[in-house]
Every structure is written in structure tokens, then in C-alpha cells.
Amino acid sequence: MGKIFSVEFLIQSIPQIAVYLPITLLITIASCVAGLIVGFFIALARYFEVRVLKTVAKVYISFIRGTPTMVQLVLVYYGIPILLRVMNEAWGTSFDINGIHPVVFAIITLGLNAAAYMSEIIRSALMSVDEGQVEACYSLNMTKWQALISVVIPQAFVVALPSLGNNFISLLKETSLVFNIAVVDIMAQARIVGARSYRYFEVYIAVSLIYWVCCMLLERLLAKIETYVRRKERRS
């Protein structure tokens, strides 16, 4: 007779699942970087209240946050080829999108998605910097950009870091949505391994352990950075 909960199976499944860790990490890190960069510029549009861009940014944020990531992923992955097909038929062109690896779609979609969330964190951090700090920059004839780079961003960074940490860690797990576009990451692999024996309970715990280890390493790193940047504003 078998067992309700098989510890050996759990242990055996860990290496099988962990094989796909590079994919998970690749997508997480790449979309995180993409999200930070795009999110930063979206935040700037709102921070500086740039005329049209500020509205565009708001709509973008609202749209991206308002719709499920899974749907965005599916729409981009399946929708773009449909669009291309229609275009090709209508105009006789012959674009082919199949050469692009689904991981690229995943990174783009997740990155653009993260950007919306991160932009709000970055905006509020930028706005938390005292006006007097910026005025001091202007009084010495710095440009907006110079003020941003030498004063506002470094000070906002401290405030934003813990919240951005949330997003990094969320993203690590949100990556599992890529299975919707047929990319196998650690969560998908856990499902595949689990499906063979219907031992889902064991594989979920196995995959959770892997996530947790990654998360702890990330938290360590974030805590180090935070201590480092906070030292400047510590009284003692």
C-alpha cells in the first residue's frame, strides 16, 4: 500500500523541479529589470506631471493593474500571431512570429506588468523626498535630471526598497503564469511531475521550498542594501 504523504517522493522531486530554476530566475530577473526601468519612467511622467504623458501613464497603470496578468500573457502570446495572420492576409505581408521564443513574450509581458506596479512605488518614494532638497539643487542651477540623479533618487531609493522587494518576490512566483504560454518553469514542472502520480501535495511543498530558499537569499541581499543606504540618515 502507498502512503498518503511520501517524503521520498518530495525529496526526489526537488532536483527534477529545480532543473527549471534557471528559467524562473531568468524571467524573474529580466522582467524585474525591465519593470524597474519602464516603471521608473512612468513614475517620472507622473512625478513631473508631464502634460500628456502623465495621463498616458495613468491609463497604462490602470489598464495593467486592472486586468489579470494571465490574461495579458495569453493575449500577447496568442493574440499577436492572430493579429499578424490577419495582417498578412489583408496586406499580403508575411511576418512570422514563431521565431521568437515564448520566454521573450513572458519577459516583455511580465516586465511591462511589473512596471505599472513599480511605478506607483517609485512615484510615492520620489514624492516623499523633501521639497527643500530639490530646491537646493535648483538654486545651484542643476537641471531636473541632475537633481533627480544626485539627490532625489538616492533618497527615494531607501523608501522604495522594501516595497520594491515585495515586487521582486512576487514576480518570482508570478513567473509561474508563463505555463499559460507553454513555458515550463519550476511551478509548471512541479505540476508536470505531480500529474504523473497525482502527488500534487508533495510537489507543491517541494516547489515551495525552492521558492523559499530563493526568497530568503533575496531578502538577505535586500536587507544588506537597505542597511547600507540607510546609514547616511542614521543619527548614530
Binding site: E135, S139, L140, N141, S150, V151, P154, R235
Partner: protein, 244 residues
Amino acid sequence: MVEVRGLCKAFGDNQVLKNLDFQIEKGEVVTLIGPSGGGKTTLLRSLNWLNVPDAGRVTIDGVTIEAGKENKQQIRALREKTSMVFQHYNLWKNKTALENITEGLIRVQKMPKVQAVEKAEHLLERVGLIEKRDEYPVRLSGGQQQRVGIARALAAEPQVMLFDEPTSALDPEWIGGVLDVMKEIAADGMTMIVVSHEMRFVKNVASRILFLEGGQIVEDNTPEKLFNNPENERTRAFLEMAEL
């Protein structure tokens, strides 16, 4: 050097600057005095467009800028001519005392880093803070912060310096020290506008005094005349308080 015409600024219902007109020649050291809340800071901040006036025109060293018609280039050109010591110092919290001074030199004036550091160290020496070179502002005393603020503004070597109560946090010795520095740069022909109630400054450094009250310049005079024979009744009362 500085020309102000029809300058107006209101915060809500509070008309802080009421159609100000004045002119300052190159090399003049003008002291702005007046009661608390009288608009001195607002006026100073209007001169480098940190406060956008509601109406009026400011000309500094040939750069003219008019409220409501300003553009980025004009604002930058105006600010190139000035630097400012803030009433609350506004030192950059993420920069050391030294970096507070070098930052503008390196970024705005594109001075090589070595040279900027050298200059900053020289200025820190002058304000007695060379041993606080690498300290962050939160760990400096009030007077130390103020002196770094002064050094930062001096480093820019602009056409016109705007000082907002630059000695408020200083002890008598350092007030003397800072006054000496200001006298020196005044002697070099720098134009200065200084908000100050420090009578030693008013008497010894200022070449001209503007008394600002209720949003208007109620008296514009030389120190000698002002102290010995003020034109305005209000000014007399004010100065009597200072003299005690």
C-alpha cells in the same frame, strides 16, 4: 545687476509681495530686514524663481524673466547668475559635508573632481569644518549645517549671492568669521542680497538696507542714514528694538 519690476506674489488671500520695484547695482551688499512673515524669504526665492511670482519682472545680469512668460532656458539662465543660502540650510541628506559642496561644482560647472574636492576642502577650512568633511548632515550641529550651506553657496561663485539669515544658528565667534568671509567677497565686487537681523552685519557690511513690511519696501536707505535718521516711523521703531 538686479532689477525687479512690479513683483507680486500671493499665497491664497495673503498678498505677500505687493508690486515691488527696486534695483541693485553690481557690487552692492543689500540687506533685507523686516518683521517675521514680512515676505523676505519669499522675495529672495522669487529672485531665482524658486517661487514663481504672480506678476512682475526680474532681471539679473542681463537675463530678464517675466512672470507668466518664463521658459526653462530663462529660468536656468537666471539661476546660473545666483546661488542661495537657505533659511533652513537644505543640505542634501544623502551627501557628506564635502559632497554637498562638490556636487554642484562637478555636475553644473563640470569642474574636474580633484579640483572640486580641493575647492570644497578649502571652503570647509574657511568655515572651520574640515574635520567634518565626511560627515552626513544629520550628524552635524545646527551651526555646522549652516556653515556647510554657506560654503556650498559660495562655491558656485555666482554673480549674485542670496543669503537667507546666514548667521542665525551661529555663535558670536562664527558670526564674526562668516562676516569676514562675506566682507571679503563683497570686496571682490560680488553682489549680495542678505536677509539678516544681525546688526553687526547690517552696520559693517551692508551698503544699503531695504526694509520690507506688509509686502512693500517701506524704506530703502544706506545704513548710516537708516540708523541715524530713518525716513520712516515704522523703521525707527523696528531698529530701536534691535538696538535695545
